[in-house]
């Protein structure tokens, strides 16, 4: 399929985004429009990867339902704290922001108008929340048959443990990773709050699955509802261990030993630890050592927005579409008027929604502490 002509990111009636790199238009997903209801990492970073591939991403939050990443314990409550969370801004760079009260029928109706022009909806709410907004996937599939709905959840859409409360590291336990991680004679280990591994790795897979669904839509004209369980992905990435276990082969935790590479070990080196293997060795870096390393600085894991601010990078780059970030994060609701105008709302209709607080640029609550 040839590249589609990318649409103007600001759309009719919209202002040129602040700090935008206007030269960065295109990419393999140019012309694809994503409505991002993703929170924290699993949803929001999946949408960010779609953006990195050239899609236009509109992040939708409500004045009473902010992405929890906007809460930052270091924020001054008297400031526009919701726009100052380093990790939120880091993750959501490049997206446009629409702040819409989905609990108000007028807000929901406005979102429906936005979805008419969308190709992909990404969400990772707790199961049942999307339906509670009046956005049940079955209804959306009927109303927008070309829409790809990507539901990224801990356990999946159904099953007896659908509603089991989990963070990423819980899924390391229930998905099999923890049992295989840690000292052979000690306790199983999890990656903890700084990584929450399943929350990270799911983004790489979810993005690919969404792109595949778009490819299928190109052929069939039909969208689909992708039900992606992070617990299943965690287990999938241990597929050889499942097959071995089914054959009755023990699958013990092996510490840092690798039966296929007997020379591998992690050893103290006086100042810290070193990983050694046949033919090489490497220091065990913490965050500070990683950030200071030349390989990291030369890589793509962290990039700079046009205003120079550090921003989340990308794991892939193309010869014709190098890794880069066109613009920093939008303030909450900064793109309300542009996005709603693109969806066909008149300035008068938008003004009514603004006056009613259905469309907003600030939250209705103080920061969580």
């Amino acid at each position: 399929m040839p590249h589609e002509v990318p649409r103007s990111p600001e759309g009719p009636g919209g202002a040129e985004p602040r700090h935008a790199d206007a030269s960065r238009r295109g990419g393999p997903l140019a012309g694809i429009r994503v409505v991002d209801l993703g929170w924290l990492t699993a949803g929001a970073a999946s949408s960010a990867l779609l953006l990195d591939l050239g899609a236009d991403v509109v992040k939708v939050e409500g004045p009473g339902a902010l992405d929890p990443f906007r809460d930052w314990s270091g924020a001054d409550a008297a400031s526009d704290w919701w726009n100052r969370s380093p990790f939120y801004n880091f993750t959501n760079r490049g997206k446009r922001s629409l702040c819409l009260d989905l609990k108000d029928p007028r807000g929901l109706a406005a979102l429906m108008r936005v979805l008419e022009g969308a190709d992909v909806l990404v969400e990772n709410y707790r199961r049942g929340v999307l339906a509670s907004f009046g956005l049940a996937p079955e209804m959306l599939r009927k109303r927008f048959p070309r829409l790809i709905i990507a539901s990224i959840s801990s356990q999946g859409e159904d099953g007896p443990e659908r509603d089991m409360v989990s963070f990423g590291s819980t899924l390391e336990a229930t998905g099999g990773l923890a049992a295989l991680t840690g000292p052979a004679e000690g306790d199983p280990q999890i990656t903890g709050r700084n990584i929450n591994y399943p929350d990270q790795v799911v983004c790489l897979f979810a993005t690919g699955a969404i792109v595949a669904a778009l490819a299928q839509r190109d052929a069939t004209g039909q969208g689909g509802h992708i039900d992606l369980s992070q617990r299943e992905l965690t287990s999938f990435l241990l597929g050889e261990e499942l097959i071995a276990a089914a054959a009755g082969v023990p699958t013990p935790r092996q510490g840092n030993a690798d039966p296929a590479a007997p020379g591998e070990a992690v050893l103290p080196d006086g100042e810290g630890w070193r990983a050694v293997w046949d033919g090489g060795e490497a220091p065990v870096r913490d965050g500070a050592a990683l950030a200071a390393s030349p390989e990291f600085a030369a890589g793509t894991a962290i990039l700079r927005a046009p205003d120079g601010q550090p921003a989340k990078g990308t794991p892939f780059r193309f010869g014709t579409w190098p890794a880069g970030i066109a613009r920093g994060p939008s303030g909450l609701g900064e793109d309300n008027r542009a996005v709603l105008a693109e969806a066909g709302l008149t300035p008068e209709e938008i003004a009514v929604l603004e006056a009613a607080g259905v469309v907003a640029t600030k939250p209705r609550r103080a920061p969580a502490q």
Binding site: G74, F90, Q155, E157, D158, G159, P160, E161, F167, S169, A173, G176, L177, A178, A179, L180, T181, P183, P188, Q189, T191, G192, N194, Y197, L204, F205, T207, A212, A215, Q216, G224, S229, R231, E232, L237, G239, E240, E241, L242, I243, A244, A247, N256, D258, A260, V266, A275, W277, G280, A282, R285, G287, A288, A289, L290, A298, A301, I302, G313, R317
Partner: protein, 328 residues
């Protein structure tokens, strides 16, 4: 149902990658391309298949890894142009393919000898799994390589869909750093001192011993009151455990207070009690236990001989193309 990449020819050059992280990443991307319907050709060098003997080994001596990772390919006809090829730099740049997905350690032309353990060490992931009194530990399985394989497949999928004639680069190191972004971002955004403080204040997520195994003790600040009440030891109300930071600073003492409660209960009992209060604690399950896991079973995730299906369902069911198969 037509598979997303039905009719696309993909060349999987994992057999020609001398470095194991590269080979595993390439093979994972090829596996996904096949499972999403592409015809994936995997030629082998004269010396044989380096992945075919990797552990774990099955009772008949064959490789469970090969069965998982290499299913759905054929040695087939490598002639003619491919829509995409994936391999390390030496192999993929010689391929006749519109889209070339190139796997490297640090980026194009930067391919020093590297192991998965080395990637985990350099990217900081190893340091995140550092039990008290022990060495840092690797993640189970082949996470560093497989994650790069996921990234490679995603880049390939985007390029295939767009009909691109291009080179897509995937760095094993960059992918691992991308997964571990918060460690570096905390330093870059907040400074090293703030990062150290942040680490202290995280309160500690880890596993706890139960009567029949372990559970993952995972909780946020909001979960502390119900967790404290669930365990019921009066000393948990002491100021030294009042905040996430205080709990982090007194983790050994906190664990000593909590340990008897966990040790006296089964994983199922602990999980049920915690989940009733919406505390995200869960059991540590082994691969053998996952074969009988009720959630996996209800969703049909584990197939014959323990083979997991692709971890998505579409419109409520495993896509039909997975049953009929378009992979050669």
């Amino acid at each position: 149902m037509t598979a997303p990449f039905a009719g696309k020819r993909v060349l999987d050059l994992s057999g020609f990658a001398p470095q194991r992280p590269h080979a595993l990443a390439i093979a994972m991307a090829g596996k996904l391309a096949a499972q999403f319907g592409a015809t994936v050709i995997r030629p082998l060098p004269p010396g044989g298949d380096s992945l075919a003997a990797l552990p774990p080994l099955l009772p008949d001596g064959s490789s469970a890894l090969a069965r998982f990772l290499l299913a759905g390919r054929t040695g087939g006809d490598t002639g003619g142009a491919f829509d995409a090829a994936i391999g390390d730099a030496a192999a993929v740049m010689a391929a006749d393919a519109a889209l070339r997905v190139r796997i490297s350690v640090f980026g194009p032309g930067e391919d020093p000898p590297m192991s998965e353990l080395g990637l985990l060490a350099l990217s900081g992931i190893l340091a995140a799994v550092h039990p008290e009194g022990e060495a840092p530990h690797r993640l189970g399985g082949h996470q560093a390589a497989y994650a790069a394989g996921l990234a490679g497949f995603t880049a390939m999928a985007a390029g295939l869909r767009a009909g691109m004639r291009d080179i897509a680069d995937i760095s094993l190191f960059d992918t691992a750093c991308w997964l571990n972004w918060k460690a570096a971002a905390t330093v870059v955004l907040l400074g090293a001192a703030a990062a150290a403080k942040d680490k202290e204040g995280r309160g500690g997520w880890h596993t706890m011993r139960a009567k029949d195994g372990h559970v993952a003790l995972v909780y946020m600040a909001k979960d502390w009151p119900p967790l404290r009440d669930l365990i019921g030891d009066p000393s948990l109300a002491e100021p030294r455990f009042a905040t996430q930071r205080a709990r982090g600073e007194n983790m050994a003492a906190l664990n000593a207070v909590m340990a008897p409660w966990f040790a006296a209960r089964t994983r199922a009992e602990i999980t049920a009690a915690a989940q009733a209060k919406r505390i995200p604690i869960g059991p540590v399950l082994s691969p053998r236990e996952l074969l009988a896991d009720r959630q996996h079973a209800a969703r049909g995730f584990i197939g014959p001989e323990g083979t997991p299906r692709l971890p998505i369902r579409i419109d409520g069911a495993a896509p039909q193309w997975m049953e009929t198969g378009h992979a050669a």
